[in-house]
């Protein structure tokens, strides 16, 4: 190891190293979200259809979302705005 290397390795981690580590985490998270399972769109469609068999709701009144909370926990969130009772 040269003298120069010695000084280099003794320095604090560079900001570029920090940037890379942060990005690796962010990007892994982003990819997790968009890599929802293949069956998801179809399942979502069928859930909406089942609801619409029983209550009159427009497609925009039902929201089905998959959220990856951490590595081994995903949450399926279902929101239905029911029509007002007369």
């Amino acid at each position: 190891m040269s003298l120069l290397d010695y000084f280099k390795t003794n320095k604090k981690p560079s900001t570029a190293v920090t940037a890379k580590e942060r990005l690796q985490i962010i990007v892994a998270h982003q990819r997790g979200e968009r890599d929802a399972p293949d069956y998801f769109p179809k399942m979502k469609q069928e859930i909406i259809e089942v609801i619409r068999k029983y209550v009159q709701v427009g497609p925009d009144q039902v929201s089905v979302q998959l959220e990856q909370n951490d590595e081994n926990l995903s949450v399926l969130e279902l929101n239905v705005t029911l029509p007002e009772k007369n």
């Binding site: 320095k11 560079s14 900001t15 570029a16 190293v17 940037a19 890379k20 942060r22 990005l23 690796q24 962010i26 990007v27 982003q30 990819r31 968009r34």
Partner: protein, 269 residues
């Protein structure tokens, strides 16, 4: 078959328009009939970088709305044969772009041109989505900096889910990384992400590395795409990127610090 190439990024100001102008000019210089389209509706820029701002009469939106035909709107480049510019409109709102309208114009252009370069606006709104929707190839323009890399990754997600190729289950859009405004000196001192870092994070093939260069401002000042300046590092780096786009394998240049000569060290560059 015409190839539709989108130059995209998510983040603003990373060098999409500079790159679109350079790559379109480079392809035309290689003898390929090329058109470059400004998708930045309301904020046109490409005409300035191409140096044809005073020749704009009709624009992309006029053609979509059938207020003018393509031949009236296309501007033939004065310097480079085989090269045409389709400018954006300066005033209209972004809703002027519809999938149907854009698709029709691209279909018509595909009959005449080998390469159609789409200069995307920043963001992930309508304009950016329209620019990437029909693409066969995406040049993901990225600066070695956290927000730019994150946005590039988001754009990759869009290409993989929201493009026409994705929607129709065709072969996916070919994605390439174009790293711009690269400063080897700052990479050496640990202040800037390296080419390898960005490649590793985004995990798509590298098509070019364009150094931070004074030649870019000079080129935009005079309305001459920087690739025309073959004395300059940025100009040569864009030429290499064009060659790679055409299938050539070339070593990457300008990745290490330029060794300053004795005089340069004394007098600066």
């Amino acid at each position: 078959m015409a190839q539709i190439i989108v130059v995209t990024s998510g983040k603003g100001g990373v060098g999409k328009t500079t790159s679109s102008a350079a790559i379109a000019t480079g392809l035309a210089m290689k003898g390929h009939k090329t058109v470059v389209i400004d998708f930045d509706i309301g904020l046109r820029n490409l005409d300035l970088i191409m140096g044809c701002e005073r020749r704009v009469v009709y624009d992309f939106v006029n053609v979509i709305n059938e207020e003018a035909n393509l031949n009236q709107a296309l501007i033939k480049d004065k310097r480079t044969a085989n090269l045409f510019v389709l400018p954006a409109s300066q005033t209209r709102d972004k809703d002027a772009l519809t999938k149907e309208g854009v698709g029709k114009v691209l279909d018509d252009l595909a009959k005449e041109f080998e390469y159609i370069i789409c200069d995307s606006p920043a963001g992930i709104e309508t304009g950016a989505m329209m620019a990437l929707y029909f693409a066969d190839i995406a040049i993901v323009t990225t600066n070695p900096e956290v927000s730019s890399v994150r946005d590039s990754d988001r754009i990759l997600g869009m290409l993989q889910s929201k493009s026409k190729r994705a929607e129709e289950g065709l072969e996916p859009v070919k994605e390439f990384l174009l790293l711009t405004r690269y400063s080897p000196a700052r990479v050496t001192t640990g202040e800037m992400l390296s080419v390898q870092d960005v490649e590793e994070i985004l995990a798509i093939p590298l098509i070019g590395v364009i150094p931070e260069s004074q030649a870019v401002l000079k080129a935009s000042n005079s309305g001459v795409p920087v690739i025309i300046d073959q004395e300059s590092d940025a100009g040569m780096a864009y030429s290499d990127a064009v060659e790679r786009l055409l299938g050539q394998e070339l070593p990457f240049r300008f990745l290490t610090e330029e060794k300053k000569g004795f005089l340069k060290r004394i007098f600066g560059s």
